[in-house]
């Protein structure tokens, strides 16, 4: 039995949606309750007005309607195909990747290998360097490994010419 008014069940009752037991409960309540009976009548009138309104909708030309559906499907297919195709072909992508790799390798080669001192590089003018350095002892350049491990190299001229001094150069000087 409904203790409360069957508000949300009324539309379903009017539409014949309720299970038999529930339908009987609502019917019994409507017999007793004037307010719910008035509400049910108002709901029925509104539902009828909505159903009548639907019948007034103008239907379109179905041939044109279907043609538009097929046109939209075709357009969607073309758009999907364009979206899937990559902007560059695989060959161009591989070529550009290879070119970038070659450039990077050339930079590394230049920075770390080409700049190594050649055997033909003339020895540094130690007297000129001694003048530039002031009181610094030139002799320490003969011992390149020691110079290499100096923590502080303040004279930029020393730093600038450091790469031109190698253990091989000092060895040649010793032999001569």
């Amino acid at each position: 039995m409904f203790d409360r008014h069957p508000k949300t069940a009324l539309a379903a009752y009017l539409h014949g949606d309720l299970a038999p037991a529930e339908r009987e409960r609502v019917r019994a309540h409507l017999v007793r309750c004037d307010r719910c009976r008035i509400d049910a009548a108002a709901d029925a009138a509104t539902l009828k007005a909505l159903a009548q309104d639907a019948a007034e909708i103008r239907e379109p030309d179905w041939c044109a309607y279907r043609a538009e559906v097929y046109r939209k499907i075709a357009a969607r297919r073309i758009a999907a195909r364009s979206a899937r195709r990559p902007s560059w072909s695989p060959r161009i992508r591989w070529a550009s990747t290879a070119a970038a790799g070659a450039i990077a390798a050339a930079i590394v080669f230049f920075l770390f290998i080409v700049r190594q001192p050649h055997p033909g590089v003339p020895p540094v003018d130690q007297l000129a360097m001694e003048d530039a350095m002031g009181s610094a002892e030139v002799g320490m350049f003969r011992n390149y490994p020691m110079v290499e491990h100096l923590d502080l190299l303040e004279n930029y001229d020393v730093i600038e010419h450091l790469d031109e001094i190698s253990p091989a150069d000092t060895a040649n000087e010793n032999r001569s």
């Binding site: 379903a12 509104t46 279907r66 939209k72 499907i73």
Partner: protein
């Protein structure tokens, strides 16, 4: 014996054009009528219902057969209508109307209206116009629920399947929709 909608949908998933044509023929009127009732605008209803068929064509493989085809397909229609209504509401909020200090002769910005155009109004008559004004005040879910019952003759269980909610929620939507419609129509006389 005519093939069921569910079998036809499975054939559409296998790119059977004839199956799609049959489904289109069976459901175009209903889809258009439902969209028109929810949106209150025939041009939008045409676009939205056509979009639903495009989605059917593209997504037929996603129909798993656990529900009826009509439940699955009309869920697509209703969701598209609800999304369309929400997008239009956003547009209304973003585009300002004329301020009080603006030139009264200058045309105000007029965002797309959800209301029917003048020729539609003449055709439908005054009572219908009041009904549609009242329908415009419902939430998209309430509007869809009450129209699915009245125009498509669906049970509250079927409506719940389309709206992806419980049966009791679907009944609440219908109850609130009817309460609002009765109130507005009573106010308008």
């Amino acid at each position: 014996m005519a093939e069921s909608d569910e079998d036809l949908c499975r054939q559409v998933a296998e790119h059977n054009a004839s199956a799609f044509e049959t489904l289109l023929d069976r459901h175009q009127a209903r889809a258009f009528r439902l969209a028109c009732s929810i949106l209150g605008n025939e041009a939008d209803a045409r676009d939205i219902s056509q979009e639903a068929f495009v989605r059917l064509y593209e997504s037929a493989g996603k129909f798993d057969g656990r529900s009826r085809f009509s439940t699955w397909f009309y869920r697509i229609v209703v969701n598209l209508c609800i999304d369309h209504t929400r997008r239009n509401k956003w547009w209304r909020k973003m585009v300002p109307f004329a301020a009080p200090d603006d030139d009264p002769d200058a045309p105000a910005i007029d965002p797309p209206s959800l209301e029917p155009g003048p020729d539609e109004t003449a055709i439908r008559g005054e009572a219908s116009r009041r009904l549609h004004e009242a329908l415009a005040g419902l939430s998209p879910a309430q509007r869809a629920a009450v129209l699915l019952q009245t125009e498509e003759d669906l049970t509250s269980r079927e409506i719940a399947g389309i709206l992806n909610c419980s049966e009791s929620t679907a009944r609440v939507h219908i109850h609130r929709a009817l309460a609002h419609l009765k109130k507005i129509m009573k106010q308008n006389g």
